[in-house]
Assembly symmetry: C2
Homo-oligomer: 214 residues x 2
DNA sequence: AGTCAGTCGAATGTATACAAGTGTTCGTCA
DNA sequence: TGACGAACACTTGTATACATTCGACTGACT
């Protein structure tokens, strides 16, 4: 039994709506500043206001929606400053996780990460940026997961939406992707040898280089 | 206009219920593992299930409630390991904020912090631990706030509940409190002189010493 | 003509009624 | 007597109807 975190069975309508709206936000279909109307969304998804409401409240508490004028919920604007903040937070959180993971990590953790890197290489060779980005996020979450710090993992998962948002119009060549795979391999090697400080340093530069330049 | 973050006007019933349940959790009235029933809470607070439901979902997404057997929501158990995790996270997040704050801080920030330290001294001299702990949390949030990193501030605010939970049965003498005030004064001085690295180091030891020993 | 007040409207906040799923218990059959 | 199954009760998920609040528009008065 692996993580199965992202394969969340959306047994509940509220959760399905949340996933759908989230997807629309990170895909750019709902741009920054777009107002979200409960009744409109309810109509679009053929459900009542109740599950829509629940979905919106959760997205709000994740920081993706903010209250605006006229009592509306607006899609948050991810400014360059905010992107830098997210990068800083990732460095701080993933760095702390990486250090801890060097003492708590498990052979299963290594196996999982190895598998992810393998899939990443395939996606990179195929030039499939979308798949690669999903695997990249999984890799970073799995790396943090090896630290057995559930609160930290939850915070990183929250940041994930902002990371995806920041990467919206990013252009990524196959060569570039292969370079990232290589870095992941190196990070994995450092985790395997429990080189905590080296891992943290390397992870920091990796995250900062991955982040959009601006 | 200052922060007014904590003085959240509870204009909505859902928010009032949330505050009440949160207070019951951090006060120990609702111990770890206690199941929360929507209809019972609705009765206790003389509201319908709808706002109760909303309050519970928010507390859940803050990590204070977890789904348990029988489809129930249970108050999360704060184990020693989790307390250590929270401390690690505070060091990572507040440390990053402190470094950043050394370049973004404002004279108003210093004034706010100064005022908080002043009030802390009064509370410490009076041996009023409860007031002091509230001011302590405000101080740390204000310090992080000087970094102008809203996402980080929100994450720290979430952690606040765990910090308060971890401090539940803590005994604090007036002498101990005065020592903490002294440390806050020193942190403030380092922020004032923009000594980023020193501030981060000092803040780390401060947080680790504040945390329960276990 | 500008400003203030009152009313109207559209959104969210709340209550309640209904549906659906799950655990439990009781009964029956092997 | 034990195990399997079906019915029931309790809880949460959803829908809808009602209340409330805040903003905007319009009207009159200064």
């Amino acid at each position: 039994m692996t993580t199965e975190v992202s394969t969340t069975r959306s047994s509940t309508k509220a959760e399905r709506v949340r996933q759908a709206v989230l997807a629309d936000i990170v895909s750019g279909a709902l741009p920054a500043g777009a107002p979200l109307d409960e009744v409109v969304l309810a109509g679009q998804h053929a459900v009542s206001r109740t599950p829509v409401r629940e979905a919106l409240r959760r997205l709000q508490s994740d920081g993706l929606l903010e209250p605006g004028p006229r009592r509306q919920l607006l899609v948050v604007d991810v400014s360059p400053a905010r992107r830098r903040e997210v990068t800083t937070l990732r460095v701080a959180l993933e760095g702390a996780a990486a250090v801890h993971a060097c003492t708590t990590r498990d052979d299963d953790d290594l196996d999982r990460l190895e598998l992810l890197v393998l899939k990443q290489r395939r996606a990179a060779d195929a030039g499939d940026a979308e798949t690669f980005l999903r695997l990249d996020e999984e890799f970073h979450l799995a790396l943090a997961g090896a630290a057995r710090m559930p609160t930290l993992s939850r915070m990183l998962a929250q940041l994930g939406a902002f990371v995806r948002l920041g990467r919206l119009g990013e252009v990524t060549t196959a060569t570039h992707l292969r370079g990232l795979v290589r870095e992941h391999e190196e990070l994995l090697a450092l985790l395997r040898s429990r080189a905590a400080d080296d891992l943290r340093a390397r992870l920091a530069t990796h995250i900062e280089q991955t982040a959009p330049r601006t």
